[in-house]
Symmetry: D3
């Protein structure tokens, strides 16, 4: 049930403790893909995952601004600090738990949010306020995950499937030309870069042409299925905390 369009009386009549909060970012995705890529993909997969389970799931509105200072050199990128992001997501989730929706999946579309969402989930879960896990769609698509990049094959492919008008096909060549092969600059397994602009000229990482709409559909199906399995597992899990050893 979508909270944005539901009334409180509709929500009151639900019998579930499951909820989903889509979390994204508004940040550069190269010259060819929209700044809202991470929100749009998170929302689409959240909704598809919900459809695939035979349970009621409360669906919160998407949180649109995340941890993206590493893209600050690219105009239009928005961000908040890690502390503020954690607080905002954590308190929004706690308000769902207040109503009994205390098994929550954070469906995430942005790599920069991953650590923070895990921290938020740990904080709420260990305190017993709610059981909360983050699900980042591009980490849940099997071998595809290795090709992630940024504005690369996965995101471009998924958007070509979901919202083809938002991919500027006439800029794909430019996207490839100014992009980087891999994320970061590595020495001894350490990424020495803290700003994407240190290693990519136009914000792209990976080849967007490796992601057509067909691959996008495959990603979509795979991620939605993975999310549906996770929702089942979250619903059934014993979330009590272990005893002292």
């Amino acid at each position: 049930m979508d909270l944005t369009t539901a009334t409180w009386t509709d929500v009151r009549d639900l019998e579930t403790d499951l909820a989903i909060v889509p979390v994204g970012s508004t940040e550069q995705h190269g010259p060819h893909a929209p700044l809202g890529t991470d929100v749009l993909t998170a929302e689409a997969i959240a909704d598809a995952g919900i459809e695939r389970v035979d349970r009621e799931v409360v669906r919160a509105p998407a949180i649109p601004v995340g941890i993206a200072e590493e893209h600050r050199q690219f105009p239009g990128t928005m961000w908040v600090s890690e502390d503020t992001f954690r607080d905002y997501v954590g308190e929004a989730v706690a308000s769902l738990a207040h109503h009994g929706f205390d098994r929550v999946v954070l469906v995430n579309g942005h790599g920069g949010n991953v650590d923070a969402l895990r921290e938020v989930g740990g904080r709420l879960t260990r305190a017993g306020d709610a059981y909360v896990v983050p699900f980042t769609w591009f980490a849940a698509v099997g071998e595809h995950s290795d090709d992630m990049g940024h504005g690369g094959p996965l995101e471009t492919g998924l958007l070509r499937h979901l919202e083809p008008a938002l991919i500027r096909e006439d800029r794909i060549e430019a996207a490839r030309a100014g992009g980087a092969d891999g994320w970061g600059e590595w020495t001894s397994y350490v990424n020495m870069a803290y700003d994407a602009a240190e290693f990519t000229e136009n914000g792209v990482v990976g080849d967007p042409d490796d992601g057509d709409a067909k691959r996008g559909e495959e990603l979509f199906e795979g991620a939605a299925d993975a999310l549906a399995r996770l929702l089942e597992a979250v619903a059934e899990r014993d979330v009590s905390r272990p005893e002292r050893r």
Copy 2:
């Protein structure tokens, strides 16, 4: 220019310092109106205001969860603390200012956000980081403003105009019957209530039937025009700080 669908290169090519951030809340609006009322209305009026000015305006995604703990007794209401809300909005705005979009109007759809947005605007403006003012649509519709309530004539009317399918017409009678005439419980000009449930049984304040689609259209036009005038004034204003006396 809508940041969600634009690319960073599109944003780079803009020549403007004007931006709008819609801010709402996901909270009960009675049995007949959606939890997302405050976001939906803020977005609609933000977009309409932008259309009415002959200037480029950066349009950020809407912030969907606000200060709404006073509705916590009604299922589905989401909220964050005042501190977190101020930080989230303030930092998101600061990220826009980082790119030079440093004249910002916060288009707000929720009464509970008003004080916090003013505080955020003051903090950023006095520090010289950006010039930021909040605009709350229902406070900018002339004499209509007196009828505001909650899920009452103004919000119901505006949604009947904008998104009629989201108003449950078959519950209007129930909405009226369980609603309150006015907001709060007052003694000596002090509102003694801190939870809406202290004075309204079903979350409604004011008569939703006093707001038909025609009135909604009038509100919409009035608010959009007022916002357009404000955008002009913000664009032209001397925002330097006064000298010491």
Copy 3:
């Protein structure tokens, strides 16, 4: 019972749960009125309100520095940040509640404190720590309230009644000449100013000559009566929180 002069054994022997905390500001009030106007008036009305109820009321010392950065261009104005003010007032009130004085009225003399005091009251009340409401005297004087201004008819009149020596009568003409007619600079119902010095040359808003001692007395009586009524209402109110809907 005034905490400043009472002993702890006197306080121990009280049978009441009512307390008052006067809250003011030390800030410019034009060339003719003292920086301490908001503290002096808050204290006077607090004491008068207490006298008019047939109940024991614990009277805390006045908090003298508030939220007044908007007057920073005028020498001598003191202020703290909104966060710090809320914490200071909130914790001071919580210490009263620790002793059982957990129905508290914050008697306020400064417009800049209003939003923050409401937030503090909401936080403590919703958490069940205490029931706390702010009372701002100049908002509780009926039609007079429309004339508020700053160092204008209401404050000048009240001080002429309470502490006539503190009004510099020989500067009233200068006060009028350099003052503003109204508070702020408005477009589309939005105050575009964040510093008082944006719209008033000498810090005055409103005509101080519209407030003579007689009007001051009327304000004083009206505000004290309103406070007394509020104290009764606070003492009798059912402060339990509503049930989930």
Copy 4:
């Protein structure tokens, strides 16, 4: 110049960078002395110190609630947390420095505030925002300082000199009988108590009868002279920070 009664134009015309902020506490002082002892004494000595120097000194209003949780078992004691106290005092002082009053003495009447005021002074001074030192009157009265206690000879004597009506002479015997000889419970030079009620039945430490009005006068003169010397030293001090070694 007393900020409470001065106008901003009076303050503007001053030529000084010296300011004093009295800081106290509202807390139990035994059955015979008022809860406001620490504010009253701090204010009296602040004013006397100012009178003894041939310089303009800005005199801020007294901060009335300090760090006093250790007296929480005694009704009427007010307190805020250490963090909030430091922020409140520090920001209030910073607002004075904003106007150029950036050599500030915090005249303190409460032992529980000492560490926090030193921390505040260090923070502001090292950052170059202002030069700020705390002065605690009862630590500046030579050999008398050894007799400090709580509600004991020094405070009782000083109030007998300053405000004799506030000392309940008919309770002095009870104060002595229920008081403690020394502050704290000590093992290996460590005070093992964190609440005054662990070692004093009625809140008193030291014999109030060892402090008559004559001794009070001596304390007053000594402390005021010491403060005057300090003001001179603060005014003349080179407050630039040392160079790196």
Copy 5:
């Protein structure tokens, strides 16, 4: 140069901007390995890395308590919150940068610290205060890294090489018997566990017998070499921030 044993005059005479801060954790490592495993290993590898570069490196004392609440069910485990850990490490590093040691490697021995150290590094680096990267030894040992576990082959092997007396060889069988094969409980690529005790009975993950002293030596050499390469790269890197796109 080891700060613990050096004097400030020794440090003054250095010509370098390189520093290392070892960071560990005091937490359970099974029945056979010490609670201090993560500190001991971080220190040993930090020192070995420093020896292998022909540059002066300031070596700070190790930070011994990290982010380890996930081991809270096992007695003796210490931890601080993520926020406090980030602040403590970040400010300690900033104090080194104050003296010009502003290229800093955080040599880390604990998986729970990884995200937080990356965040600290990003914060300081993006602000231009220092260039800071974390190096986690067990992520820098090539294919060995896949076997990490907890108190498993890598940590056990490394300690058998470095501090054999600290491995309780007579408890290895018990360690294996009560340990888990892998870290966490996974569904759809999401770790559903937040406490180690959810999936390991005795805190062990991986087979400690797969890590003998010889493998430990290999790990040690590999990690120390990797660290030395990183130090060179940090010393030579252009750490200026990229320009706006």
Copy 6:
């Protein structure tokens, strides 16, 4: 039992509620004594105190960076802010209390930490989370305490006894020549200095030659005995909080 070398199963089998956390600082101690003086001495005395009691005591790793900004002009000095130090120590202690080790002595070697540790102890103790007291060794050595200084007779003597190789005997003359006689610059019992470099050229206060190894041994024995007595007192103390008066 030393947590660094113990296993969690060893700790589990303990029957005690006593713990010690050594706390120091890494900061200048003149040209002749190491930056780690305060950690080394705190650890040595902590261990000696533990040996002298016939009780099990959990011994945590030492916290090596404290509150030392006042030495910032001397290269190599590390520090964190007071807030961060309090949080780090307080949370580390709370994690011990989580396991039942909730009578804790903080064995401190640094004057700058004293106030903060007392605050931390008060916070935890008053909240009932643990009973925590700080023990600063140089304040517990009777008349010796008067000679404390900095890198002076006490610290130099103690290190000559404990770690003679760390005292640079060939720099003692220089240490004396550039040192100060006393700590601070005093007017009216107020220390007007906030940086050690305001009053000591080389960081030394007091004559290091007044502290030979024999005196060091005496200090060591005295402090260890005092700590042992304190541990007994902490173990036996009724730590319940007093009742309301």
